[in-house]
């Protein structure tokens, strides 16, 4: 560090250079704090923009009426809300059971290697750009036929699957082995142990995973561009054999319009969507904490 200190120096005084080091430390701490503040600020900026610009346009009409014809004012996004609900319902109905089954397989029946491979595959699946998923489902189902709610639901299900599955895997692994062993010791077969003991114990965590999956796919636009974007704007569409109106594609279209009333509608629809997604995320997270502590304790 330094050479031999001069004999008359007070040994308890701070070493030379300490002030400079402290200043640098202060500066760096400042940088880190500013960075964190910046991130929070951006988030607040976006959310507040949506709130301020979206709230004025939200009224009962907006939520219960269908879009008005070209050039006319008024109207709402009722058909998109219903359509999105149906799409998300279809996607979850398809992906959640499969995800839970995958998790059961890796935590109960598969060997370590297989489980690792499946986990890896799910992580990779999670990283596939959602637009490629849309192209995939388009080539599989839509090409040569029509866009449909089924196609949209399947595309969303493919995206939702790895999210729910990975979360389910984590939760099932947290269920104490002692519970399983107790069930086996009592003479229950494996499958009963899973269905009657493991799953109910993990139910909270599984629901959390499903909720996170829903939160994610609720806002997905790219896969729906290929599978459910040419839809009717007058009258509610509830038949999944037809293309389903949905909130993300609606926002997408409105966002590129020059009309200020379209912009207002876009912000309002964004508010509905963001409120839904953020609410789900927050609920999932707090559920997550509670079920974790319950499983451990």
């Amino acid at each position: 560090m330094q050479g031999a200190a001069p004999a008359h120096r007070n040994p308890l005084a701070p070493a030379p250079g300490a002030r400079r080091r402290r200043l640098i430390n202060r500066a760096m701490e400042g940088v880190a704090t500013v960075a964190a503040a910046l991130a929070v600020a951006v988030l607040l900026l976006v959310v507040i923009s949506v709130l301020i610009k979206g709230l004025p346009a939200i009224n009962l009409d907006f939520l219960t009426k269908n879009p008005a014809p070209f050039g006319q004012r008024g109207g709402g996004i009722a058909n998109s809300i219903v359509g999105s609900a149906i799409l998300i319902g279809l996607a979850s109905a398809m992906s959640v059971p499969v995800a839970v089954l995958i998790a059961i397989f890796t935590s109960e029946f598969a060997g370590r290697r297989t489980a690792g491979a499946i986990r890896f595959a799910l992580d990779i699946l999670n990283g596939v750009p959602t637009i490629v998923t849309g192209v995939f489902v388009f080539g599989l189902i839509v090409y040569g036929a029509r866009q449909s709610g089924w196609a949209g639901g399947i595309a969303l299900a493919v995206i939702e699957l790895p999210i729910v599955a990975r979360s389910a895997q984590e939760v099932l692994e947290l269920v104490p082995r002692s519970l399983r062993e107790a069930g086996l010791a009592l003479g229950l077969r494996r499958w009963r142990v899973v269905l009657r003991i493991v799953l109910p114990t993990a139910a909270g965590g599984l629901i959390t995973g499903a909720v996170l999956g829903v939160a994610r796919v609720a806002g997905e636009t790219a896969p729906l561009l290929f599978t459910s974007s040419i839809f009717s704007n007058f009258g509610l569409t509830t038949n999944p054999a037809q293309a389903m109106p949905n909130i993300p594609v609606t926002i997408f279209g409105l966002s590129e319009s020059p009309s200020p009333s379209d912009h207002a509608a876009a912000w309002a629809a964004a508010l509905v969507l963001i409120a839904f997604v953020l609410l789900l995320s927050i609920v999932a997270r707090s559920f997550h904490e509670r079920s974790r502590s319950r499983l451990r304790g």
Binding site: A32, V47, V98, P129, I131, V194, I274
Partner: protein
Amino acid sequence: MSGPTSSALPRRSELLNYRPRLADRIGEPGLRALSALAGVLAVALILWIAETVFNDAGPAITKYGLGFIGRQVWNPDANGGVGSFGALDFIYGTLVSSLIAMVIATPLAVAIALYLTELAPRVVRRPVAILVELLAAIPSVILGLWGILVLGPFLGNRLEPFLHRILGWIPLFGGIPSPYGMLTAALVLTIMALPIITAVAREVFASTPAELKEGAWALGATRWEMVRMVVLPAGRAGVVGAVILGLGRALGEAIAVTQVIGNTPQIQASLFAPAGTLAAQIASEYQSANPGLGQASLIFLAAILLVISLLVNVIARLYVRRVSVR
């Protein structure tokens, strides 16, 4: 705490005279088979996607081969509707916009992660962490909407003209200021990648061995010096993995990018100039791509995007896995 329900417990008589019940005979192998099937699906799905995409891109792959990547032309209706295609403009746009996003996001994310693990007072830690995670939950179409109506006008009407006036002699800032362009797209991508890098980096820093940190404290290091000497070097591999994960997110983003990037296939020096990315172009043109070479070329873009993002993801997972194992 929920435990086994009483109806699941076998009766005493069953335990004494155990014979495999019909339900068990079906249930046990049934569950095994069903869940195994699901496991196979998990692995098969990614292969299926790759196979379908490459298959549908067939006509373009046959016609252009790998040279497609180097061709700088995108003229879908040329030659009476047959078209002439090449991916170079979009590969450039994808790489440049993502790279700029990484350059801006990485130091920010590392700083935030350090703040959350080392600096923040306990009370502040949870809320700020949650807020940063919520940033990741914002759907991309809404970020794109915000980009079009808030960020774009700010950049195009205020920041870019300012940069152009002061630094216009640098080619980067030499173009016409425009709300739609590479810079706007890169900033939107930064906002999307930031939470991911931060989350992983946080975990990495939080798992720095305590004794190393305490050693630095004992030697009289300031907090920054401790971070510089211990936390950062120890977490280097993990941070690299985090950045690559963020890169994967940025590369694949279609919607928010296509809303703000101007969708013009070109290679320009200026950051203000409109550009095109692989994902954004697919989103732009998928509906009007002519059957045959047109659609195949578009799906060829998707295939290239798939390969790039798979590679990036695999590399990222290897890095992150290495960290968590340690």
